[in-house]
């Protein structure tokens, strides 16, 4: 059982964005930037992958940020400070490759993807890199983790689709502006919606900037057993849970990945509607 020590609601409107500070000493001690956990929000519930947004080995805590987009995340969001999450397993996946790059490291986070990119920015900075972060959201109220990213980076650039905060436009515009403006980029890391990752990788490709995309695919066990998370990278099938979650963004078949992510849309909708009306396991929380 994993106790929720703090709960913060970043976005109160639905679908809400919620952050938990969770007591998980063994996971916190082992966690490295880029890794994720599998969470079961309620006994009998789904196993859902969530990237770790922060960890504190001394305090024995990890931070998890999620948006209530489906029944399982809605269930998770109902838990309050002092309650427990029945199952959290990890840290899973390979850690981000951290080194001192020749040129700035650009961390690109889109929407809720800003949270999981936070430990990567932190680790890249600690390794002596000049870290520039580009944070994107549809509008100002959806911008999360800005203060923490300012601490974890040397420079932060902000874009919103509607121009309600920072520069109007997409993260790709800011990234292109940075490169064309003469900034030497040693490596880029991107986490966010698949379409945003796809186009971010397209920006860096002609410049041959090594770009790592952290993929969030459908998973069941998260430990290499089911293969549900598979993705084609450079023509080869890879498992996101054990070979990833980060891959060479220029080699990922994003279109196939997006099609695979849509596999359970009708079921997800059915479960969400039932949850909203208080049926299924939603009754138990």
């Amino acid at each position: 059982m994993f106790e929720i020590l703090e709960k913060k609601v970043w976005l109160p409107e639905e679908p809400r964005i919620v952050e938990f500070l969770v007591k998980a000493p063994e996971i916190a001690r082992a966690h490295r930037a880029g890794q994720f956990v599998i969470v079961i929000p309620v006994e009998g519930g789904e196993r859902i992958p969530l990237t770790i947004a922060d960890s504190d080995a001394k305090a024995g805590t990890i931070s998890l940020v999620f948006q209530e987009v489906g029944a399982s995340t809605m269930l998770l969001g109902r838990l309050e400070k002092g309650q427990t999450i029945p199952h959290v397993a990890g840290p899973l996946g390979k850690p981000t490759h951290i080194e001192k790059f020749d040129g700035a490291v650009v961390c690109v986070g889109g929407g809720i993807g800003v949270a999981p990119i936070h430990p990567i920015a932190k680790a890249m900075k600690a390794a002596g890199n000049h870290v520039i972060s580009i944070l994107g959201a549809r509008s100002k109220n959806l911008m999360i983790y800005e203060e923490r990213m300012k601490t974890a980076s040397h420079e932060v650039k902000i874009t919103t689709d509607d121009g309600s905060y920072g520069a109007k436009g997409f993260v790709t515009d800011a990234l292109k502006g940075l490169i064309d403006g003469g900034t030497k980029v040693g490596c880029a890391v991107v986490i966010g919606p698949p379409i945003m990752m796809k186009f971010t990788c397209k920006v860096t490709e002609p410049y041959k900037i090594p770009t790592f995309a952290s993929l969030n695919t459908i998973m069941v066990d998260g430990t290499g057993m089911c293969g549900a998370c598979r993705v084609t990278v450079g023509g080869k099938t890879k498992f996101v849970c054990v070979d990833g979650p980060e891959f060479d963004g220029h080699a990922v078949d994003f279109d196939e990945m997006m099609a695979r992510q849509r596999q359970y849309l009708p079921e997800e909708k059915l479960a969400k509607d039932r949850c909203a009306s208080g049926r299924g396991t939603c009754q138990t929380v």
């Binding site: 082992a30 789904e46 196993r47 029944a71 057993m225 084609t232 196939e256 359970y264």
Partner: protein, 474 residues
């Protein structure tokens, strides 16, 4: 043995066979000749004293029968259901030379179920504590047997499980209709009653490494029984289309996550109408029969050799046939065909014929050129085997793995790896095999670990191999 009507059971997840009644068990047990040199016991990977437990049945002393089995096998309710007895104990039965062999597996199941019907299993007296700590990594059949053996020798045992439920393949792989999960839970509960600790949601290699378990957490010995769970795919075009599932994914969704109850369970599964399962082993049979139960109109086994060569248990093949599974034998998939939305709509196959026997002793399938045809299919489930998960190899640099990722051990009797104090057995050493062979390896390792904890002796993995035995002169 009585079983549910094939048409009825093909639509539910309840047990196919309902087990012997007491009268049936009595009649069957009396067929045993009580051989002085029991060849059946030799055929059993864990050496169950078979004549002894069958004699106890004839005396109606079922408690004595269970106790006899449990001396060497703590999982009789499981093994009585899923062991390939026809290839093991029953294949060696003397009665079987002229008639049907004694149904040892069914008798084993009968006494295990009798024990379950009596309420909680009696807990043997606690042995004297040795003060030694053993970590058992993986709670499949091998891990459970090993843990049970060691706790009874007085060692402290902690079992580590990556998933949220203990049981390994017994809970995620084998369907409810063949092995009810309540039975596995009962065995796990029994181990906990004996004093074993269980840590679920604990991924050894990630949450803690093997090295950390030994150096920091002070475990005196480690048993690795993590299985070989990484699914193999067919390496044909279209394999990542929507509607292609590894057998592990399909079975895990349904068994461990109870997706057949969706939306009352949270994990979904697709109820496809035309399903092709590629492969011919027990996992393939479990998958195809699950597809039927989820409402498939056509559920096919696509297998590149003939009916004779199917590696699955005969009983499972017959059950599948009775339930309506269609066998496309001498057929191999070459391509998965998708529609414009990325979903499977067909499976292109080629006909095969059998040539000369290959290294495995089975006749090698050869493609009939130009015999390609397309099956109308909306789901494809490769059940063609599994390999070693790389998690432990990536995080245990001071232990030797072979080229295919399996752990190198001294020999099957000891299970000693190249890292002192670490033992391994089951599929992670041999490659994918059966529940009972994993249980056998767990028992052997249990004995070896117990010995190591008393004498501390190890082997030198770098020593030159002993000279080959010289054939005796004629």
């Amino acid at each position: 043995m009585p079983e549910q009507n094939a048409k009825v059971r093909a639509k539910n997840f309840q047990q196919v066979t309902t087990g012997y009644t007491e009268e049936m068990a009595q009649l069957e047990a009396q067929r045993c000749l009580q051989c002085k040199k029991p060849t059946c016991t030799i055929g059993c990977p864990v050496s169950v004293p078979i004549p002894e437990f069958i004699k106890a049945i004839t005396e109606k002393d079922y408690a004595k029968a269970v106790a006899a089995i449990k001396r060497t096998n703590l999982l009789p309710a499981v093994c009585g259901r899923v062991c390939p007895q026809e290839m093991q104990c029953e294949s060696k039965c003397v009665v079987g030379k002229k008639n049907e062999p004694v149904a040892i597996g069914r008798l084993e199941r009968f006494v295990a179920d009798w024990e379950a019907s009596q309420g909680a299993a009696p807990v043997p007296p606690t042995p004297k504590k040795t003060g030694k700590k053993v970590a058992v990594v993986g709670t499949g059949p091998g891990g459970l047997i090993c843990a049970g053996y060691l706790i009874q020798k007085g060692h402290d045992v902690t079992m580590f499980e990556a998933l949220h439920k203990a049981g390994g393949v017994l809970v995620y792989g084998i369907p409810e209709f063949r092995l009810p999960k309540a039975i596995v839970q009962r065995e796990v509960d029994y181990l906990i009653k004996l004093g074993c600790q269980l840590k679920t949601d604990f991924v050894v290699g990630k949450t803690r490494t093997i090295g950390q378990l030994m150096d920091e957490d002070k475990f005196d010995a480690v048993y690795i029984g993590v299985g070989a769970g990484l699914p193999w795919f067919m390496d044909v075009p279209g394999e990542n289309l929507n509607g292609v599932y590894s057998a592990n994914e399909y079975l895990t969704r349904n068994n461990l996550m109870k997706a057949f109850e969706f939306p009352n369970a949270d994990t979904p599964i697709k109820r496809h109408k035309n399903v092709a399962v590629v492969g011919g082993g027990n996992v393939a049979m479990d998958s195809v029969r699950t597809a039927l139960r989820l409402g498939a109109d056509n559920a096919y086994i696509v297998y590149r050799r003939g009916m004779e060569e199917l590696p699955a248990r005969k009983e499972e093949i017959e059950h599948a046939q009775h339930e309506g599974v269609q066998f496309k034998i001498l057929t191999a998939p070459v391509k998965v065909i998708g529609n414009k939305d990325g979903w499977v709509e067909g499976l292109e196959c080629v006909e095969m014929e059998l040539g000369e026997p290959d290294a495995s002793g089975r006749r090698r399938p050869i493609e009939k050129k130009g015999s390609n045809f397309v099956m109308k299919i909306d789901a494809v489930i490769p059940a063609i085997g599994t390999g070693a998960n790389p998690l432990l190899a990536m995080t245990t640099p001071d232990m030797q793995f072979n080229k295919r990722g399996y752990i190198v051990t001294e020999n099957p009797q000891t299970g000693r790896t190249t890292k002192k104090g670490v033992f391994a057995g089951g599929d992670i050493v041999t490659g994918a095999a059966t529940v009972i062979s994993a249980a056998g390896a767990g028992r052997q390792a249990g004995m070896a670990i117990d010995k190591y904890l008393s004498d501390g002796e190890w082997w030198d993995p770098n020593a030159p191999p002993p000279p080959a035995a010289v054939p005796a002169a004629k």
